[in-house]
């Protein structure tokens, strides 16, 4: 498909949607405008959940509580203190942000189910607090919240506040869209790949998740502020766990995989709710209860049969509509990212001294010492169970040592977190490939440059990181070209065969501009041709000054490639030396073939 004939459908759809939203109040009755206002506010909260749950893989059953904190904050400040609602916005954002930060710091380090479970508890607690604090009007809430004003223009009328709501919704979507395509966004999209993956590119999964959690809470805070000044009244019940579930239902119904899902989901859920409120009273006198039952049943059915939500169907039927844009032409050249000073060849850069690792009674690595010098390829080999992988984890600081030291570039890195070691210039690949299958090759490699660049969440969301982004993508493209995948940059990493995925991991590691590249069984699962290509690539890298430590099973591959070998057996170092010498060594032959030494 030529660049000129590329369909512009996404832009058309967004433009049409914006136009429809702008014209809606002129054409619709005031009831429909109020419904659209509710949808806008709901979609803000749901957007936060799409980011948090759909992209980041964490979830919150207390999102309505954040809406509540913001709504009560601005209601309290404007009614009892008589201050401007715009100061109320600042206060609401501040209070919600700080609450989210504290709650996040407490729960986000915990894996799996602890986070969502504790969100139920604080979601309940906060709603209960609202109902029991005298200053917040207990169960009666706070009334007479002032309407917003812009200069002398009052936004008391639903048609007036409509535009403010939808401008904020539009900006929130733009912010999220920018964010996901940026440096912090790539880290967020990699969260579900696990903390080790992020640490390997020098990012801290906990901090990434915390910033995401606070962002989602701030979206909820905007919603709460708008809610308070639109309804002019706050009370505890719209902020309880039931409301949180409804927001989550919106996000799931629309589709957690797409930002637009938040808008679609909020519209579907709120319109359905309205419809049910009209229809059910005709059928039964227990309409209220039946509505709750119907919603819960609908939610369960959704999770059974359509976890992708409505946008999941759109993605299946019209994949082109949601596919990421492929740039028409190659971007113009920009100054490259600054590079590290590589050490002079021959100087020792990595030095392992007396490494010991015990798992209970088992000694997996016992008193192993060796050096790696700049500009060489060193192989770490040994039969099954020799402790190679454990050694690998120790020297990359993925696992803690029981005893011993590791020095990297003259610095003692024993006990440092893995991400710090990665930032010093030690890049690694994984034995079980850790790529993000739903991200393009280019994005996967760009993730590798995380530690070399700076743009934060706010800068990225506001779109102020364009210059740095161009540098990152130029670098990523360069690394893709280095491994021979330049022409497939926009394909999804998940579509590659395993062997190519391993090589792509090397490109990601190279994007970090490493001093030392540590490869964990890169030849496993590769065909003969692919192995040859990998060998050539590694030799080329050595010639360019990159030092390589390779943990490998495939003797033939290693023997032809490396300058020096370290052989391990039963957790201890057996021999160290040139390939030919090692091959001739009787102890090595005995270890591999089981003969008597």
């Amino acid at each position: 498909m030529s660049a000129a004939r590329r369909p512009r459908t996404p832009q058309l759809v967004i433009g049409g949607l914006a136009l429809a939203i702008a014209l809606a109040p002129l054409l619709l009755g005031s009831f429909s405008v109020s419904l659209l206002n509710d949808i806008g506010i709901g979609s803000l909260v749901a957007l936060g959940l799409v980011l948090l749950t759909g992209v980041g893989g964490a979830t919150s059953f207390g999102q309505a509580a954040f809406v509540g904190i913001a709504a009560y904050a601005t209601a309290w400040l404007t009614t009892t203190q008589g201050l401007s609602p715009w100061l109320g916005l600042l206060f609401a954002l501040l209070l919600t942000g700080v609450s989210a930060l504290l709650i996040g710091m407490l729960t986000l380090r915990l894996g799996g189910h602890f986070l969502p479970l504790s969100t139920i508890a604080w979601g309940l607690s906060i709603a209960m607090l609202f109902g029991n604090v005298e200053a917040l009007g207990r169960h009666n809430g706070l009334s007479n919240v002032p309407a917003l004003t812009l200069g002398s223009w009052s936004l008391a009328d639903p048609r007036a506040i409509y535009y403010l709501i939808w401008v904020i919704v539009g900006l929130a979507f733009l912010f999220s869209h920018n964010l996901l395509r940026s440096r912090p966004g790539r880290a967020i999209r990699s969260l579900r790949g696990g903390a080790t993956l992020l640490a390997s590119v020098g990012a801290d999964a906990y901090r990434v998740r915390l910033s995401l959690f606070v962002t989602a809470a701030l979206f909820a805070a905007f919603a709460g502020w708008l809610y308070a000044h639109m309804n002019r009244f706050v009370s505890p019940s719209p902020f309880d766990v039931r409301a949180s579930i409804e927001y989550l239902l919106m996000a799931v119904a629309g589709g957690l995989g797409q930002l637009v899902g938040a808008l679609v989901g909020a519209a579907v859920v709120l319109m359905l709710k309205n419809g049910l409120q009209d229809v059910l009273p005709m059928l039964t006198k227990n309409a209220g209860q039946l509505e709750a039952v119907a919603f819960a049943a609908l939610f369960i059915l959704l999770l059974h049969f359509a976890r992708g939500g409505l946008m999941g169907f759109v993605r299946r039927w019209a994949p082109g509509l949601l596919a990421p844009a492929v740039p028409d032409a190659a971007p113009s050249a920009v100054p490259p990212l600054p590079r590290r000073q590589l050490p002079t060849p021959g100087t020792p850069i990595l030095s392992v001294q007396g490494a010991v690792k015990r798992f209970g009674g088992l000694v997996a690595v016992n008193e192993v010492s060796f050096d790696v010098n700049a500009g060489e390829i060193v192989g770490l080999i040994g039969p099954n169970g020799a402790g190679k992988s454990t050694m690998f984890n120790l020297l990359t600081c993925t696992a803690a040592m029981t005893a011993g030291r590791v020095q990297f570039l003259g610095r003692d890195i024993t006990g440092l977190p893995q991400r710090e070691v990665a930032r010093l210039g030690l890049a690694r690949t994984f034995q079980h490939v850790k790529l993000r299958p739903q991200m393009s090759l280019l994005d996967n490699v760009a993730l590798g440059a995380h530690a070399r660049t700076r743009a934060g969440l706010l800068k990225a969301g506001l779109g102020l990181d364009a210059a740095e982004e161009r540098q990152i993508f130029q670098e990523a493209q360069r690394q893709l070209a280095r491994i021979g995948l330049a022409d497939r940059a926009f394909e999804l990493a998940g579509s590659l065969p395993l062997g190519t995925q391993r090589i792509l991991e090397i490109a990601r590691a190279l994007a970090a501009d490493p001093v030392l590249l540590v490869l964990d069984e890169p030849a496993a699962g590769l065909r003969r041709k692919e192995k040859q290509a990998l060998g050539e690539l590694l030799r080329k890298l050595r010639d360019e000054g990159v030092t390589i430590l390779i943990v490998e099973h495939d003797m033939d591959f290693v023997m032809k490639l490396v300058d020096r070998l370290v052989v391990m057996n039963f957790g201890a170092k057996l021999v160290e030396g040139a390939p030919a010498a090692v091959r001739a060594d009787a102890r090595v032959q005995a270890a591999y073939l089981g003969g008597t030494a």
Binding site: L110, S125, Q289, I300
Partner: protein, 351 residues
């Protein structure tokens, strides 16, 4: 606060703790075997209490209709899935298992609602009647998505709670009820500290049941099958344990525990259709203290929750639940400190 008050509050807390202990055991049992955080646990306890209240006022408990309706849905789900796989020969057995088996307690309950049935029988039937609830819900809601992530299961579980509490309101109405004490009389503890028979019964049941629980898990093949499934589903399947069946067993046991909790607390607390949620959540606090895996730690946690709640209600009745939930803060801090290096699982919702 004087020592007298502290002692009274302490005894009260012990009784609360006994309830949370039983609930916590049920929650940990279900979670460890199926990875489902079973939020509707408390609802089932509330339904048992309301069933007993219906018996005492001479009404036929609406729970019969609820169990019956769920059984019909379960039969439909089972028959559909069997015919989709072409296993028509197994349909009669499935109808018996999912339709006829839950009908037995329904029939008993209908008989027990006739005038002149002794109270003890009604109590037993109330417990029996809610036992099919959790397995039926599990068959309809959780079994089709047994391999989904913990997160998806949790969302479903929470939605299921709202479904059940809506149904509870439809079936039982908004009125609260309190039942006759199961044990009368008081025990004088030292000088002038009366402890009601009901509280002694609650604490004693918790001790006896958790003892039984321990024996079943340690000494019987069934208990070992449950433990094996908890440790590794695939591994359990390889040695001939069917995870779906052990899961149902776990749900059945938990449902039984929930029923017992319901009839134990109904005489001391006014129960509404939605009172179960808070009871279940407090048991979660206990279960989280036990990391959702350890039974002894859950037991300790349950006692702590019970005592904290009883003292908190002395200081501020309105905020006692907030205070209990804030117990989570130090627990989570400790857990987060201890598990700083744990690699978390991937959680994918939309795939």
């Amino acid at each position: 606060m004087t020592w007298d008050v502290a002692l009274i509050l302490g005894i009260d807390g012990l009784a609360n703790g006994a309830v949370y202990l039983l609930a916590g055991l049920g929650l940990v049992l279900i979670f460890s075997v199926t990875r489902v955080v079973f939020v509707p646990f408390g609802d089932i306890a509330a339904f048992a209490a309301l069933t007993l209240a219906a018996f005492e006022t001479g009404r036929v408990p609406p729970t019969i209709a609820m169990v019956g309706a769920l059984a019909v849905v379960a039969v439909a789900v089972e028959v559909t899935s069997l015919s989709r796989r072409g296993e028509f020969a197994r349909i009669p057995k499935a109808v018996l298992q999912w339709g006829a088996l839950p009908a037995v307690p329904c029939l008993l309950a209908w008989l027990a609602a006739q005038p002149g049935v002794p109270a003890a029988v009604q109590v037993a039937v109330s417990v029996l009647l809610v036992v099919p609830l959790a397995p039926l819900l599990a068959r309809i809601v959780f079994q089709p998505i047994a391999d989904a992530s913990v997160l998806v299961l949790l969302i479903v579980s929470l939605a299921l709670h709202f479904l059940l509490s809506g149904l509870g309101l439809l079936f039982f109405g908004p009125e609260g009820s309190r039942t006759q004490p199961l044990a009368t009389g008081t025990l004088m503890l030292g000088e002038g500290f009366p402890v009601s028979g009901q509280i002694i019964l609650m604490v004693a049941s918790a001790i006896v049941l958790s003892g039984l629980f321990f024996l079943v898990f340690e000494r019987t093949v069934v208990g070992k099958a449950l433990r094996a499934t908890a440790v590794n589903r695939v591994g359990a399947r390889l040695v001939g344990i069917r995870p779906a069946r052990t899961a149902l067993l776990a749900y059945g046991c938990a449902s039984l525990l929930a029923g017992l909790i319901g009839v134990l607390i109904a005489p001391v607390t006014t129960m509404y259709y939605d009172s179960g949620f808070i009871i279940g959540l407090k048991a979660f606090v206990a279960a989280i203290i036990g990391g959702l895996v350890s039974y002894p730690m859950t037991a300790l946690g349950a006692l702590a929750v019970g005592v904290v709640e009883s003292f908190a209600s002395f200081w501020s009745g309105a905020l006692k639940d907030v205070i209990v939930f804030s117990l989570l803060i130090p627990v989570l801090m400790l857990r987060s400190f201890l598990s700083a290096h744990a690699e978390e699982d991937e959680e994918e919702v939309d795939q």
